[in-house]
Amino acid sequence: MRRSGFNGILHTNFITNERGTSMEKLIEKSEYLHYINDNDTLLVGGFGLSGTPLTLIDELADSSKKGLTIVSNNLGEAGKGLGKLLLSKNIKKAKGSYFTSNRDAVKAWSDGELEIELIPQGTLAEAVRCGGAGIGGFYTKTAVGTKLAEGKDVKVIDGETYILEKAIKGDVSLIKAMKADTLGNLIYDHTGRNFNAVMATAGKIVIAEVDEIVEAGSFSPQEVETPHVYVDYIVMNKYVKKGGKYVEHS
């Protein structure tokens, strides 16, 4: 069910993609920016550059959106993926598990231009899952007794010590799947599933970038990895995979 969030008029009904598949949720790549406001929290799928919505990120980098909080495992690499948003100055804050590998992120943080909240990778995944599952928080073993547990509630349950981690939700989720069917069911490419499956559940509006759209019924019910209920809009990937990497459409 399409969610509200933008009251303008969009010609989104039954857009037909290049393969002739008609689909209600399909929108042009530039359109999705209507759903993003300054200072929003965006949940972005991907692990490094794998399973990353490159097209959506490009649009965002070209936009004037500002003050965004990005929740994602990484900020891509320097100048690539979410790394582009650092250069384009759209981001105020990043929440994730590993930013060291992007020198631009390290520099922006050092220069006081980027706030960073470091979250263990498993805690991040679970917190986002909880955000999508109506769970307010959870007690985890991870990070007990470390700097990352400072200020967090501690509780002993059945003799084991846990810290409380709050659920994470977003205004908009930007995810990347390999294929969508015409209802919006998604399947991912191998380990490209990573954070995308949980990010899909925890945004008020969920935009999925996909390589291909197929007819509903093409996926077996067992193989659907993200049911269509979680997906509001679909944007076609402008890149194509060649030699295992996404390159510009030629």
Binding site: G48, N73, V106, Q121, K141, T142, V144, G145, N194, K241
Partner: protein, 217 residues
């Protein structure tokens, strides 16, 4: 750190791994271990969402969406399974990984690990380190005896931030193998031509040992 030392550590840890175990290998030295398993069938878990990681693919089969946690292209073995990040860490945190082999910045004489943050430098990455420390059934540390600056990495007390209250079970360096027993560090094997006196010199942590251990090499 010499490649020979790295291989020696990897080989020695490979001996510790048993047929059928589910293993998560950290970055650095641990990634060499699969080369030294011989005929042992192990199942490699990669925290970005795969159980049953196989070797590096040939160039034509590289897919950026089939990668390891170190973001390197991988393959899948027969019987592999794929899952999302939340279920991958449910597997890790829930105690379903038999062995995690981790690199460290320091480990103290009780087995407490520091492997994520250097104070004074930018602390901007933790990754899955704390989840693995908290959750794996057995933790084996792969590390050089000393840091590049010559300081001992096996210390009395951590001076770097802890990765969690859960202790390591074993440490393998280029010189020796140590285990932890109720908060005490114990030398179980010397695997270089270092003398016990030299080893003590290279180690800040206090450890116990028996004469047999030393003479066995």
């Amino acid at each position: 750190m010499s490649i020979a030392d790295r291989i020696k550590i990897s080989k020695r840890i490979a001996e510790e791994l048993n047929e059928g175990q589910v293993v998560n290998l950290g970055v650095g030295i641990p990634t060499l271990i699969p080369d030294y398993l011989g005929n042992k069938q192990l199942y490699m878990q990669s925290e970005n969402g795969l159980l049953g990681m196989g070797p590096t693919p040939v160039d034509e089969e590289i897919n950026m969406d089939l990668i390891s946690a170190s973001k390197q292209p991988i393959t899948m073995e027969a019987g592999a399974s794929l899952f999302d990040s939340s279920n991958s860490f449910a597997m890790i945190r829930g105690g379903h990984i038999d062995v995690a082999v981790l690199g460290v910045l320091q480990v103290d004489q009780t087995g407490e690990i520091a492997n994520w943050a250097v104070p004074g430098e930018t602390i901007l990455g933790v990754g899955g380190a704390m989840d693995l420390v908290a959750g794996a059934k057995k933790i084996i540390i792969a590390t050089m005896q000393t840091a590049k600056d010559g300081k001992a990495k096996l210390v009395k007390k951590l001076t770097l931030p802890s990765s969690g209250v859960r202790k390591a079970d074993m440490v393998v360096t280029e010189h020796a193998v140590f285990t932890f027993d109720e908060g005490h560090m114990r030398l179980v094997e010397i695997i270089s031509d270092v003398s016990i006196e030299q080893l003590i010199e290279l180690t800040d942590a206090e450890f116990t040992y028996s004469e047999e251990t030393i003479t066995s090499n």
